[in-house]
């Protein structure tokens, strides 16, 4: 794709994103207006966080990963990522906005959360620190967008990019703590979980960035091909975490880990592994890295696998009922409602619209 056609493609993408957002978001709003949160299939019987939280967490973690991908060039000076840094940072902003939409349509009182979290200083809560970090992170992204992305001649950002990277790391770790510190849920309660979530966040953000760069073509596509070896390393690490956790879970007698039987028995688990293996194959060999089509396939496979993994992680951690007795006999059954799927689409379309707006308006490459 030539540089001249890029703005036109971005404008068309923006229109697609907005139309999708209106359709999917309209359905969600209609359902929430008529049914309230009963439109979601979450219940007090144990499955409290459903697909909306999966969507939010996936988009937020991928956003942080994209910001860190940009920081590899702006903060750490890695040449591989220099042509990609502006696009990565804009993608981080787009994914963050999409994630916030999913969260706000899931919370009982989203507007109250805007002041109740920062003003009550619950320093014991990981979510307090996460929101604090996310606020700083979002502000830094906006500053980078205004002072660097929007100005092609601007020099490489210094302090703001560093603060954004630190804030992104902080958001990932505090978000992971919310899961890892819960001793009553052995599926989550593990020291390696924050590291696993960091690896998956970085991988997700990098995959989104390289996918967009491949589709943009030109120098960015070549840079994305070179940078794909980093994806191979991260995919390998993600596979190790996934397989290692599954083996430990299957072998352990600890009550709560029996949910691994269900996870491993699901076709989605094997699809996730297959997609990661395909992504590893496509990004590990130099020949495949030179092929734009193969790289698009690799990044799509990575993104889908990571989303399946996030769904497994968030949902499976809640499937063992805690003291529900006669109300829930076995593992909790959960399938997302149409409204929850529509919310996923609405968030994705919003993120895409924001991204396409930037693609049409700004020049991302060097």
């Amino acid at each position: 794709m030539s540089a001249a056609t890029l703005p036109r493609a971005g404008s068309a993408g923006f229109v697609v994103g907005i139309v999708g957002l209106i359709l999917a978001g309209g359905f969600v709003v209609w359902q929430l207006t008529t049914q309230g949160h009963a439109a979601y299939n979450t219940t007090s019987n144990g499955l409290m966080w459903g697909l909306p939280i999966v969507t939010y967490d996936f988009l937020l973690m991928s956003s942080c990963g994209a910001a860190l991908t940009g920081a590899l060039a702006t903060v750490f000076g890695l040449k591989d990522f220099e042509p990609l840094a502006r696009r990565a940072t804009w993608i981080a902003l787009a994914l963050l906005i999409g994630g916030v939409l999913a969260l706000f349509l899931e919370l009982g009182h989203p507007l109250r959360s805007l002041y109740a979290i920062p003003l009550n200083f619950q320093v014991k809560a990981p979510l307090f620190w996460k929101v604090l970090g996310a606020g700083i992170y979002g502000l830094c992204l906006l500053l980078l967008a205004a002072n660097w992305i929007a100005k092609p001649q601007a020099p490489k950002p210094g302090a703001v990019a560093t603060v954004a990277a630190v804030a992104a790391l902080f958001v990932v770790f505090t978000g992971a703590l919310m899961f890892a510190t819960l001793s009553m849920r052995p599926f989550w309660h593990s020291g390696e979980v924050p590291v696993m979530i960091l690896v998956e966040a970085l991988l997700g953000g990098m995959a989104f960035t390289l996918l967009a760069a491949q589709l943009a073509g030109g120098d960015e596509a070549r840079a994305a091909g070179n940078a794909a070896r980093w994806v191979a390393v991260l995919v390998f690490a993600a596979l190790l975490f996934l397989i290692g956790r599954a083996i430990v879970g299957l072998a352990s007698n600890l009550d709560g880990l029996q949910v691994w039987n269900k996870v491993v028995g699901s076709a989605w688990f094997w699809i996730e592994i297959a997609l990661l293996v395909v992504a590893l194959w496509l990004t590990a060999s130099a020949g495949n890295r030179a092929s734009g089509g193969m790289q698009v396939l690799a990044m799509l496979a990575t993104i889908v696998a990571l989303f399946i993994g996030k769904y497994e992680f968030v949902i499976a951690g809640q499937l063992v009922p805690l003291f529900k007795g006669s109300w829930v006999h076995g593992l909790i059954e959960y399938a997302p409602s149409a409204t929850e799927w529509a919310l996923l689409l609405a968030s994705a379309f919003l993120a895409y619209a924001v991204y396409a707006f930037g693609a049409a308006r700004f020049r991302f490459g060097n």
């Binding site: 007090s44 009982g108 979510l127 009550d255 007795g325 109300w327």
Partner: protein, 251 residues
């Protein structure tokens, strides 16, 4: 300053659910959203089937994981009485406390009804409340999670704060048989037909709850989580027991 606690004698509990009903009436609960539930478990297979039951209120833990999970201090530990309460004015409905509770005692009203038909559609709520039951208790204190639950927030057992917090100072036990403390006794304790429940000050060495815990070796649920419940269970093995295994356990 009292630290209220409850002792439930499982050898006496008959699983009649009078506690559940009394709690629902006292606290305007929606059908099925039982702050004080009696859980029934089936263990084994025919012909060797064992039916067990287990009464389960909020544990009002000494170190509650729900408090540490709440990002707004909506869930808090009241140092005066040791209650774990919810300030509905601060709750944002993120449900982190529900995920972090080892005992499954928290409820979010804005969901599909636990029991059909949906009574909320029969008695629709007013002023942001989740429903408007024909009978309502006289107490309404959203800052402590008492009254008709508003939409979009989480609720749980308050140890009948509206009754127990007004008990005479220095009293060791709140007993329905004592005229001085009868009206201050939690609803579930007051109605228990076999008198399987006791409520008193865990910080008072003379309280009956402390004697029972010491004499009959009271145990707390899931102590390994570090929550340190203020609800203790007594079981000599003759009746209902703390569930040791469930269907979801590995063989």
């Amino acid at each position: 300053m009292a630290k209220w606690g409850m002792v439930i004698d499982l050898d006496k509990c008959t699983g009649c659910q009078a506690c559940t009903t009394a709690c629902a009436m006292e606290n305007n609960r929606l059908p099925g959203e039982n702050w004080q539930d009696v859980l029934f478990y089936h263990e084994g297979r025919y012909p060797n089937v064992n039916l067990k039951w287990f009464p389960r209120p909020c544990m009002h833990c000494e170190h509650p994981s729900c408090v540490a999970a709440c990002p707004t201090k909506a869930t808090y530990k009241d140092p005066d009485g040791g209650y774990v309460l919810i300030d509905w004015n601060k709750c944002i409905g993120c449900k982190a406390c529900m995920v972090a509770c080892p005992y499954g005692v928290r409820f979010y009203t804005d969901e599909k009804p636990v029991v059909q038909p949906d009574i909320r559609s029969v008695f629709p709520g007013k002023d942001g409340r989740s429903w408007d039951p024909p009978y309502k208790g006289p107490h309404d204190d959203p800052s402590r999670g008492i009254g008709i639950q508003p939409k979009g927030v989480v609720s749980k057992c308050t140890f009948c704060y509206h009754k127990t917090s007004t008990a005479p100072k220095g009293v060791a036990d709140l007993d329905e048989d004592d005229p001085k403390t009868k009206e201050h006794t939690p609803a579930c304790v007051r109605v228990c037909p076999p008198k399987a429940r006791y409520f008193g000050d865990l910080d008072n060495p003379a309280s009956k709850v402390n004697k029972l815990i010491a004499d009959k070796r009271g145990v707390r649920l899931l102590d390994h989580t570090g929550n340190k419940p203020q609800v203790y269970y007594l079981s000599g093995g003759a009746g209902a027991a703390v569930p040791s295994s469930r269907e979801t356990n590995k063989a």
